[in-house]
Structure formats: C-alpha cells, structure tokens
Symmetry: D2
C-alpha cells in the first residue's frame, strides 16, 4: 500500500455510511456502462491491450476481494478460488495471472456468473465497511479508496476497449445512441506564456492521489508558452494532406518505423469514404468534425505533428504548472458525448480537462524521492516506469471526479486506442 495514499478531506470526514454510498455508486456505474451491451459484446478481445468487458467487471471485483475481503473480512468465503488466477491482472507477487492476450478465450465464467460475483463481493464489502474493526480502519479505508479509483480507471478502459471492439467489426455496430456535440468554428490557437521559475510539482496531499503523483517537489522551468486549445481535426488534416505520413524528416526514428510497419496514414478509426473522412465513434460511424480535437493518435504522430507545425509537445511539468489551480471542468464522461468536442473559445486555456488525454514530451519516471510501496499493491504504478510517456488532463471517457492537475496517465508512444490527442507548446 503506497504510504503516500491519503484520503481527501471529504472522505476522511465521512462516516462509514457515506463511504458505503460512494462505494455503491461507483460500483453501480461500471454496470451502467455495460447496460447497452449484448452478452456477446462482453466476451471479445480484439488485441492484447484490450480486455473483454466481463474481464473488467470481474477484475475490479477481484481487487476488492483480494486486497480487502480476504485479508480483513472474517466471514467472507472466497467466491471461487479459480478466479484468483483468471482475474489477477499483473500482480506477480500475489499469484500467476492468466495470460493477458488470452482473456478473450474464456467463455466461462459467463456474464451472469460474473454479475453474481460482483453482487457477492459488493454485499461483503458493504458488510466490511459497516463493521470494520477500528484498529484496521485506516488501512481498510485507504485500500477501499484505492479500489474505487481503480474501478474508475477500468470504467474508462471499458469504454475505450469497447470502441476498439466495435470498430473491428465490419458491421461497425454502435455501443449506443449518442448525442452529437455542438459544431462550431474554433478560433486560432493563442499562447499562454509562463515565466521561468521554480514551481511545485505533484500532489499536495489534499484528497486521494496515486503514489506516482508523490512526492510533491520543486522544479526549475525555462520560460515557455502553451497553446490555448487542442489541435483540431482540420489542422491535423493539413498535416496529412501535406504528405507527412510519407516524410521521414518529421518523425522520431521509432515513430517512422511504426508508420512503415503499420501503414499508418491517418488517426486510428479514420476511414475515407469517397473523398470524405469518417471515423468510428461509440455512437457509430460519423463524419470527422473539423473543429473537434484530433483523437486516437500515438505520441509518435503527436510529435511529428508538432515538428511539422514547428512547435513541440509540452513536458508534463509545463502542463501541470499551467493547469494547476484551474477548476476541473470540461468534456469529461459526465457530458455523455463520449467523443471530443470543439473548444468553446471562451477561456484563455481551453480543453485542459477532458476531450482527449494530452501526450506530453515526458517519459514516465518516478519523482525524486519516490519509493515503490511495500507489498503487492506496490506493483500498481512503479513497475511501469520504463519506455512509456505521460499523458495529462483526462478525456471524454474519464469520470469527472477522477481527474486532477497532478494526475499522470501513461502509455507507450505507439499506442493509439486511447482517447489521446495533441496540445502544442513552444519555447519563449
């Protein structure tokens, strides 16, 4: 358990009752996300990075069962010992996880059985929260908060993975009927200047944060400017139409190798019908909105675009310094668009939360003084600090109460199935 995990004031002041409510609401939310699915839709894994929805539902329950119920709940009887193998994701110090690329090869347990698993876990969790022993309460509460944040991460992943799953099907089925964000022109990018100086980075300890957001520490930044809004589809089309996918001069070496190996020529999910570009959304195939932010690009494409535009990507520190203190507001999951939307032209800095995860130039690395936590939960974040890049700001499928300025998401530079996009920066 990361020693740096802290409960936010609200949670710390709640009675057990409010934690029960919080628990039930977040757990219910995962099931609501699955409400539009047919049984068949729960079972599919279209690439190793994608997991079936039923796996997500089971794994998040396994997390509570393994880290809370089995160690702390006296009366709890393991729902099915075989699940420990099947639904462990990557906690190698706990048990041998089932092969990740084979998650889609399991027809059993059935979806119905997994819902029974969830119900059994939920019943026992409510009992544990209500009657937890005083002396372990702090540890239990920390772990429950971690488990709920973990569940929210998987809610986002479920939507992300379902989009990939539906997009591979030539029938292009939609996840569900979705409303279209309002279309309107966006103004040219303007630039927010930030002075050279020493700034604080990392979480301040008020409320929950992952261990990778700690320790808060000071860094020295050179002066820079951050773009007022995200790069739009129209702007990205300029990059495409300029032949950039055929111009090695714009690309990182590994990026160019990816372009060649995968025949990339546009963002993931884009397809040209006659001369018009369409793309897959959770609401089905739609024309590409020129004013909406470009989405589903790799960090390689983001960097190549920046090079083409004679700009660069911001570091994660530049991003955090710029956004810190601004209200958490934007096209997050609660708007229910489930796709990026055109900026509103209203504030100086727009779209900093929601719409798309913003690729930064920063490699995912530990902050000075970071230490991996003791025990199995220590595998949560630290072991991934190699070869991945940091993304910031959340997306249109991120729960609104799950994002903050210090939040560090991380994926490989080649990954495109996340809702990932581009904000530019430049030196001053």
């Amino acid at each position: 358990m990361p020693s740096s995990l802290q409960l936010d004031e609200r949670t710390a002041s709640t009675t057990n009752n409010s934690l029960v409510l919080n628990y039930e609401q977040i757990r219910k939310e995962s099931e609501l996300i699955c409400a539009p699915l047919e049984t068949e839709d729960y079972c599919i894994q279209t690439m190793p990075d994608v997991s079936p929805a039923k796996w997500h539902l089971a794994h998040t329950s396994w997390f509570f069962e393994t880290f809370l119920l089995l160690p702390f709940s006296r009366n709890y009887r393991c729902f099915n010992p075989a699940y420990d193998h099947l639904f462990n994701s990557y906690y190698l110090t706990h048990s041998q996880p089932f092969s990740r690329p084979a998650r889609g090869l399991l027809s059993r347990p059935t979806v119905a059985e997994i819902y029974r698993y969830r119900a059994a876990v939920d019943e026992a969790m409510v009992e544990l929260i209500t009657n937890a022993p005083e002396r372990s309460w702090q540890e239990i509460e920390s772990l429950i908060v971690l488990g709920l944040n973990h569940e929210q991460q998987h809610q986002e992943l479920m939507l992300t993975d379902l989009k990939h799953i539906f997009a591979q099907n030539p029938l292009r089925p939609r996840y569900r009927e979705l409303s279209t964000p309002p279309a309107h022109e966006v103004a040219d990018i303007s630039w927010i200047n930030v002075d050279k100086g020493i700034y604080d980075i990392g979480h301040n300890g008020n409320g929950f944060a992952y261990d990778n957001e700690y320790p808060r520490h000071k860094i020295l930044l050179q002066p820079f400017a951050l773009a007022s809004r995200l790069v739009t589809n129209a702007e990205y089309l300029g990059f495409i139409n300029d032949g950039s996918y055929k111009n090695p001069a714009l690309w990182l070496s590994d990026g160019w190798a990816s372009v060649q190996a995968n025949a990339w020529h546009a963002p993931l999910y884009w397809e040209q019908r006659d001369s018009e570009w369409w793309h897959m959304t959770l609401g089905g195939m739609r024309p590409v909105d020129p004013n909406a932010p470009v989405c589903h690009v790799s960090q390689y494409e983001a960097a190549a675009y920046a090079s083409w535009a004679d700009r660069r990507l911001p570091t994660e520190f530049e991003w955090e310094v710029s956004v810190s203190g601004l209200p958490i507001d934007g096209n997050l999951r609660n708007t229910d668009y489930l796709q990026p939307a055109a900026g509103n032209n209203e504030s100086l800095l727009q779209q900093h939360y929601g719409d798309v995860w913003e690729w930064t130039a920063s490699a995912y690395a530990p902050y000075p003084g970071y230490r991996v936590a003791e025990g199995t939960v220590g595998e949560y974040n630290g072991k991934f600090m190699s070869s991945q890049a940091v993304l910031r700001g959340g997306s249109c499928v991120t729960p609104a109460d799950h994002i903050r300025s210090s939040y560090r998401n991380f994926f490989y530079p080649k990954d495109r199935w996340q809702f990932s996009g581009i904000r530019l920066a430049r030196d001053l």
Copy 2:
C-alpha cells in the same frame, strides 16, 4: 459444381417431401449440438483453425443462401448483404472472405440474430425445395445434397472446435454430461493380410460422394497387412515412457521440428496429475483409459509411433481396399460417447469406422483424371491438395450417415485438434 456429384438412390427416389425432411432433420441437428451452450460459448475462437460455433451456424446457412437461394429462389431477399463477407469461408472466386483468424472478434451479429438468419434461410429453402422449377431441379438437388453434407462436416467441426475451446479454459468446463464408454481389456493386435493385386479405388457412384473421391480408378498394390485395431493409449504410453519425444531418430524432420517448437510431450489435451495421466473430453476431465484408442495426435506423432513400433502407417489405398464392403458401423456420433472407446475384440477388423480419424501415409492428391469443378463450388476440395495428409474412417463425432469407405478427410501433418489416431500397417 463437381460433375461427379451424384445423388444416392434413396435421395434420387425421394419426392421433394423427403428432401424437405432430410433438410430439416440435418439442419435441426446443428442446433441440437448447440443446445448445451451458453451464449458466451458460441463466440470464442481459441486458434486460427478453430471457428466460433455461431460462425459455423451462420456459415452453413450462408452456403445455402449463396449457392441455392440467391441464384434459384425468385422471391428470396438477401437476409443481410454484409453477411456475404462475414460468413464466406474461403470461396475467393465468390467474394472476399472475412479474415479467418479474426472470426472470434465479432460480437455481432448476436447468437439470436444468427438463429433468425437460420430460420429465414430454412423457411426459404423449404419453399425452394417444394416449388423448385423443373428445369433446374437436378442442379438444385445436387447442390442441396452437397449443402447437407457440408452441414454435417461442420457439425463435426463444431464439436471438435468446442472441445478445443473448453480445453483452453483453466476451469475446464464440460460441453455437457456424457456417459463413459464401457471399459474393458483389448486383445493384442492381429494382422489382416491383403494380397498383391489390382484394386478399385474411389467412389462407385451409388449415392453421394465428394468430387475428391472421383474418378474411381484401378491401382496396383503390393502385399501388406493391416492391424486389427487402433493403437491404444496404453501402447502410446509405452512410446512416451520410452523417451520417444526426446529421440530424434524416430521422427520425420518436420515432425522433430514441431516437437521442439511446441514442446510436445504427449497427445493434445493430456495432462499429468500427480503421476496419472488425465485428458480433456467433451464431458470434462477424465483419466486416460488405457484400452481406448489414442487420440489427438498429429501425423508426425503417428509416424514416429509407427517407427518406434517398427511398423508403418497404411496408405489411404491400403485402408480403402481393406475396409471396402464392410458395414458402416462403429463408435460414430450416434453412440453419443463423443470420445473414442476400447475395441470390442469381436471382429477381425475393428474400429475401422468411428472412434478416430486414422492418419494414413498418403499425401492428399487428386485421383488420376480428377478435374476441379467449374465455378465457385470448385473451390470446395481441389485447392487443398497440397501439403496435407489423408485421414480415413470417421470418428466419434462424425455423423453415422456421413462416412463411407471412399471418404477422404485431410489435414496438415502437424494438426492435433481433430479426433485423429493411429492404425498400423506392415509390408508382407
């Protein structure tokens, strides 16, 4: 349409009504095979050779829709034009088939939708059979008979593939409750001698046969002897325990490469629990019956076993000559064991139909004078006559009315997921 396709006497003499009955019974049978399945079980593809059950159900319907309804039924309206891509297996001259290894990535159409597709096709087929135009009747009837034989092949494949699917799941779920074949000792192999001579090979034209069983022709055989029964698990254990999986001297060069690359050390589906061997069956995990025939071995293993036993595999011609004229009887699907069973020690030649497909030494090749049929149905058999080996005799999952002495099944020497086993032969 292969010109060599002939209707059997029974069929030829039936009125349309009896073809309707035949059609309905065989089509119904496919659905009965699926009756024990959960919706999730229909969707899984555990390796490229395996297809999801729902794909089998749809593809066999597509066959009737494509080769019968759309060309011959005036009133029929295509159920869903997108299905032509999704459910075409390998008829490249007809349309571009959906990627075979990706058949398990399609959650839609749902299982329910595919049953609606079947129902629509069946209704239209009955209508077509009943009201077919006189002048096309012969062609229609041939194609229907081909379609029904095709459906029966897929019934066998469904059971074969479901076994693979359930076996990959660590829960080892069973397909359904199955009775165990009676256990009893089997007598030592005795040898049936066949004289040197000129023999007829291939189908005689009475009743249906695939084009690859034609033309019937004469061959000259050297004297040989065929084993009275199949190689048993006990005998194969002797081969294993003699270190044969580590002895390259016994193996074909490609076979040894397969042993090394795949770490083969026993038949597929075998696993050692403590010191006892168990294996997966459609009825779940069971101890290996020493008297039952060994099953789920590749041709490489069959050949290595024969080499170890100082025997050889029979050619397909030796097999056909030996079996021709014997009644079609054995542990075929109608026994409902769905696994191989010990020989009955009763007749001279035992287990020649059913139990396991018997690997022969013969490469799958055209008979002298064979010509690929005109049109798309010509892709049915001929294009697979390269690098595959012939198996004979049907297995415990073969419909009893689908096998005959001239029947040629074919798989790659490395394939193990079929119900395939070993019968020995030797020179005289």
Copy 3:
C-alpha cells in the same frame, strides 16, 4: 548405410586406383567451383535455406571424416573436434548440429583453414582407399560412393546458393563471366502419348542410386501425355500478363497464401527495368530470353501455370516412365552455361535432363517396401518424406554424371531458389 546402395559396374570393376582418381576429381571439382570467389563470398548466408560456400566445403569434408576416416582409418587424428558440431548438417543421431540459420555468422574457421581441412581429409582418404582393410572394403567403398554423390549434390547447391547470395546484393555482382546460350525460336509444344499400363518404377540396381529410389516396383498408370518441352519464359509471361498473380481461382490454397504473404508477382530473380524483364544469372543481370525455360518458380506457381494453361503437372511416375531409357544428355553443368537454354526442337522429348528441375505433382513419399537404413546414414533421405514435392531431371547446375531417370530430388512447394521449372502433362 542404406542396404540398397549399389556400386555401378564401372566402380565395382575398378581397382582402388580408379576410385582414388574418381575421389580426387570430384573433390577437386568443388574447389574449382569456388575458384572465382573472393574470400568474402565464401561467408555469406542470405536465408536459412542457403549455406555459405565455405560451409559446403567443410561439411562435405566432415562427411568423409565422420563416416569414413574416424570409423575406419587407424592413423587418422580428428582435424578439429569442434568441427563435428559446426559442420554436421542434420544428423541428429550423430551429434547436435550447429544452428542452420546461423551458418553465416561464423567468420572462423577461415576459408584458408577450411582448405587445410579439406587437404587433410583428402590425404587421409587417399591413404584409406589405398590401404583399406579387406574385410571392411565393401562397406567403405559404398560409403565413399555415397560421399562422392553427396559432394556432387553440394556442388549443385553451392552454385544455387551463390546465385541467391549475389542476387541479394544491390550491386548484382556476377559469379563469373559466362557465355550466353544460343538464342532461337522454339516450336510449339507437342505431346508424347503414353498408354495405360503397368510400369516399373525405381532404380534397377545397376550403378549407384540413393535409397529413396528403391525398391524398384510396379505401378499402374492411366493413359497420359507429356509435353515435348519445358514451359518457356514467353509462355510464362503470358500467364503473368493475364493477371494470374492476382487471380485466386488458379492457385492452390497454400499457394495463394504464399503469393499474398510474399507479394510474388514474377519468378524469383526477375525484375522489370522500364518495361523490359531482366533476371539475375550467375553471369550477372541479363534480359529474359523468351525461348528459354522459365526457372526459379515454386511448385505453387508451376501448378497455377498448369491450371491457367488447362493442363496439369505430371506425376513423378509419368515422368520416369517417359524418360526411362533415353540417353543422359542435355544442358547440365558440363555445358557451363549455368542457366537454362532454349530447346533444340530436334527430338520428340526435349530438355528432359538438365536446364531446370521439373516440378512433379507427386508428394515425396517412400516407395512400397522402403525402409530407412540403420545408423546415422539412415537420416540421409527418409526423414524428409513429409510435405515436400518431387522434382525430376536435373538442371543446368547438376553434374552430368549425377543424374538418372530414377533420381528423385525434393523441395517444399514454396521453394524458388532452386533451378526449378515446369513441364506440362495432360490426361488422355
């Protein structure tokens, strides 16, 4: 040692002296083939099937050292014990061979050292032949004859592999200056008819033959016709220009998969310059001669061509029956063209020896009664009788005294780097 190995009359009647001469001449020939090479050219391996020339030189010496000198020569001291691992090709019952695809990763032993190895082996071999003990002489002589035939096979492979090596180099260096075969028109194909009947197949025991040519046995053939000459480049261009590489209807299923996977669109070594086709030869890049036989095609391409021409490939039996008894004459290595040449229009059956190995429709399989020989030499042929196809007749790089009507060469259907071409057949 294959029990079926027989010495030809000439050899059997020779004194030891004439075997010494034979030995020295054939061993010298291997070195003459390498005379045009630079040191660097000896070291390269451009794909797993290709071996470096220095490996060929060493391996053939290892053959004599391992099967003759070490068992039979009292005074011989192993040249270098490490060579047993490095230069064993595939005799798994003897020792662990060095990884085949890694043969090109060995800079040592140097070329000079390998020539010293050859010299040491040759000196000891001459001594052995001269002073061999009477009681082992028959066995020794058989093995020497096998070793010399083995050496000749590797002479052909050296030229074949060197062509591949030089062809991968963008500089397209030539192996050496070569004269061009005379160019002239060839007459249309005529057909040699062969009656239905019982024919002898296999070697008659006069002179040397490999074990795979035994036992001689009778087969029954249906009537057929064999084309008078090989398929020409001009005819094959007709196939190409008709879009055949894009027409799946013409191809075996595995063949079509190869076309797709490897983007085949012409024979190996062909390249289009402006609108003209050129191809790599051992004498460097040359325009494709329309009248010369097409070469460097896979069996898949041969079969697709036959299908396009509405013909078929002959079986190896049809070939042998047609050619048996004809004089061994043709564009073999002794013409020193080292590339196929236009037919001479003179005899009824042309080009049956030399020019190109002719793909047959026959899978490489044991003849009835064939048994793998005892001991390590038993690995020579038998273990390759799976998934390969038989080629007949020798090519322009085959030594003239190494070919005969019963000679069976074998490669995988996908292989193209051999000098392999097409002769058509048809049913009567």
Copy 4:
C-alpha cells in the same frame, strides 16, 4: 548541421595542418583497430544492432564523402554512386539506406575495395582541408570535427560489435591477445553526498560537443548520494545467487517480460563451466574477476539490481553534477585492456570515466530549448529521443579524447551488447 556545434579552442587555433594531422590520426586509428582481423571477420553481422567491421569502415568514409567532399570539393568524383545506398546508415532525408539487418549479407564490395574507398576519401579530404575555400571554411571545419567524432563513435562500436561476433562463434575466437588488468580487492562502496541546489547541465561551449548536450541550462536537484564506485561482479553474483532472475518483484514490468522472453539469467557473455563463471572478452574466454565492474547488463538488470540493493540508479543530471570538473582519466581505450577493471580505491569517486557506460535512470530527451538542426545532419541525434535511456561516462573501448562530463550516450533499456554497467545512487 547543429548550430550548437562548436570547435574546441585547440582546434580553432590550429592551422589547417593540424586538422590534417588530427584527421589522419583518427582515420588511421579505425584501421589499426581492424589490424588483427582476418578478411572473414570483417563481413559478419550477428544481430540487427551489430554491423560488420567493413561496413563501419565504409560508412564513416561515406560520411566524409557525403557531407564534405561532394558538397565542397570541386574536383572530387564520387567513388561509386552505389555506395550512397549501401553505406548510408539512417539519414532518410538524404537517400534510402540499405536494410540495416541485411548489412551482413553483402560480400561485395570486398574488404580490399573498401580500403581503397577509404584511401580515396582520405586523399580528397586532405586536399579539401588544405585548399578549402575561405568562405565555407567554418562550415567545413565544423563538419570535419563532427565527422571525426562520428568516426570515434564507430571505433567504439567496431570493438563492441566484434566482441558480439566472436562470442557467437562456438570456437570463441579472440579478437587479439590482451593483457589482463591487475586483480585486487576493492573497498566497500562509500557515498558522495550532493546538496540540494540549482546546477548547470549541458556543455559549456568550450570544445566540441554534440547537439544533444545543448543548450546548457539550469536544473534544480534534490539532495542525493552517488556510490563511490561501480557495482562489481561479486556483488552482482550476490544478486544472481539470491534468485533475482526468478523474482518478478525486483523488476520493471518490461524488464520482467525481457527476462522471460530471452531466458536471461546472468549478464551477456557469461557462461558457467562446472561451478565457475567465465565470460567472453575481446581477449577470449576468461574467468569472471569478482572485483571488476559487472558489464553487459541491460538497464532492466541495472534497475533490478538497484532495487535488490535497496538503492536506485542516478539520473543523468545527478551523474553530470557529480562528475563535472573532475579530470578525464580512467580505464578508457588507451589502457588497451578493452575490458573493465577493478577500481583503484584511491579517489573518493572512482571509475566515473571508462570501464563501463553507466546506465542512468533518465530517458533520453531533449534539453529545454533544444532544436533539431536543419538539413540531413539534423538526423544525427534528435530523432532517437524516444524510448531510450541515457548512459554516461564512457567505457574501456571509448577513445580517451572522446568523452566528457556532458556526453550523453543512449541505448534501449533492453540492450546488453554495449559495455554497460551499474553505479548506484540514493536519496538523502
């Protein structure tokens, strides 16, 4: 050409004559490194990362030909236009480079021809230096200095690659006779403390540096301590013997995947003979010296070792701040050991130059304000700033006049064939 490239004072003050001397001495050095080689040794490529020695010799000459002679030398005639394709390494904006993994498949041009190429380039270069036009001199001189540093990098790579080449050969040939570094005990690690503070990072502009060492800029460091010496083989054996290669808890996620996929169980080039560890050196197989620094470990292994020792790797900034200002001295190529040696226990901070490149925790990234240079030379460094890690300090095969405190080397975390080792750090 990177605008940040500066000539060092010495160079700037030289007449053209001294640049000629410098040029000739460094170019000669590359050939001296090859003096012990047989012709065959020049041609081998044992993995995609490795290049044949003859390729290194040609490529460095191509660099001068392409960036100096062809643009600036009026009289120079291209030695061979085909070389531009063959010997371009990765300058995609210049021309299409020959496939990197295929560099070992080229027997031509021969080694002798490449030496002729070098001689022709050298002659023309001396002529250019002597008679360069005044107005281009600054640009020419910068490019020559870059070319000479480039040549020195390839000198190191040649030795590194030759070690890999000789190590793959079961004969384990040695590159040449080498003296053994003196063996002696090393003292326990002590720790050099560095205070929190703002420090300068990057090159100060005096003398040559690569563009990736610019711009010099300030950073804020937390307090830390750096280990006085490198991790020894004895210490690393403790890690091995503690079962660390089987303990996922110690590893980064990608590192554990590498351990599994490649069956890593010790550093590259180590092999156990009886119970003793030996390793391959450029002087042949030798017992592992317990006091010498561990070498040929990946960053994954370095990080796992640090985790096991409850320490961490330093950042590249911590390393540079600690080493900046110390004299450039150590076991660099000039000692001619060509392998790491035990520390001398004499100074507080030991082995900071030479012995092994020290893996840092830092991802290779641009410094604030870094801009990729205009033109083809801009591909030199910037495009590799993705997914690689920084190594510092040079190794026993680095030319002594090629290293400095700001020098940033970079490889992938999985790479082991470089002379790479471990220095620990810890938080204060």
